[in-house]
Symmetry: C2
Amino acid sequence: MKQLQDRILKDGKVKGTSVLMVDSFLNHQVDASLTRQMAEAFHQYFSHKGVNKILTIEASGIAIATFVAEVFQCPMVFAKKNSRQNLPDHVYTSKVESFTHGKVYDVLVAKDFLSPDDRILIIDDFLANGAALRGLISMVEDAHATLVGVGIAIEKAFQSGGETLRQEGIDIYSLARIASMSEETGVVFAPELPTTAKTP
Amino acid sequence: MKQLQDRILKDGKVKGTSVLMVDSFLNHQVDASLTRQMAEAFHQYFSHKGVNKILTIEASGIAIATFVAEVFQCPMVFAKKNSRQNLPDHVYTSKVESFTHGKVYDVLVAKDFLSPDDRILIIDDFLANGAALRGLISMVEDAHATLVGVGIAIEKAFQSGGETLRQEGIDIYSLARIASMSEETGVVFAPELPTTAKTP
């Protein structure tokens, strides 16, 4: 998506060869207008897929996912990072390893909000190694819901998460795919994906 | 706001006399359509106040705040709960006591995203004792920004946070104000507030 790529080139900050700071428009300060454009792009791609629920994970996925839910006219659910010693009852749960923070944490979704009738579109801001995404997918499977696909704002295509999950048959639509980056050369994007999903 | 009050009566779950569960439409599963109506109500109240930035705190404030930012055509910033041992540089920070979780945590906003030119509307889902709100206000003051007002979805008016902050001159607009609640009698609302702020 050109608007997102342009914004990354303008305001993203590269640290080393694997960290991209986008906290001026995506995950600390949020540009609502760009978020709206991203939601429309996800809708265009997945509009014919019968999506009836959006699933994301707190915190930075929430802004995009809420807009996507509005466009699809369906509810949004955000998985919570568990901070309690004991897991509450009646939740689906999964363990996620955070490479950024170097620890493993539990994420959870109340069983009331995922059901076998749900056709779920997962939305998140970043995809790198795919750890958070696998946690969400595992809860969708536990609920016997249908995973329609995954919409990602920025994919670090030089890490293996996206490719591995696509090989497993998951339809991942990323709006900006980074082929490589460094402080010297900046961000190099991979070719854009088709803007509409294949009809199954 | 009638739509929010009706939804609380329909889907809110009262536990004891102080806990209201609204996780089916506000802070776990999110109703985007209701969120849109809340954003419009905040805009109607604060539209003539020159708001140029929305500030909230992760995670459950983000959905509402992003919609509000879109209506005001300005950026949204969400304060982060610090999970690191050491605070990063270049941030405003404040300590917030969580009565729900029984602990004190740091919240932070990068200094880049709050400035003396900002006219800030704070948005959050709940106001009870006001601890989180005081943390946000303290960072606005540290940045020498102007606090225009505060928009709250649900105020527990039987706790003192809102009343105390209003006495300090802060314009708090709450869409649903709960006078009292219990598992036997359900939720009783306080009278609605005027839907437009006074002109200063």
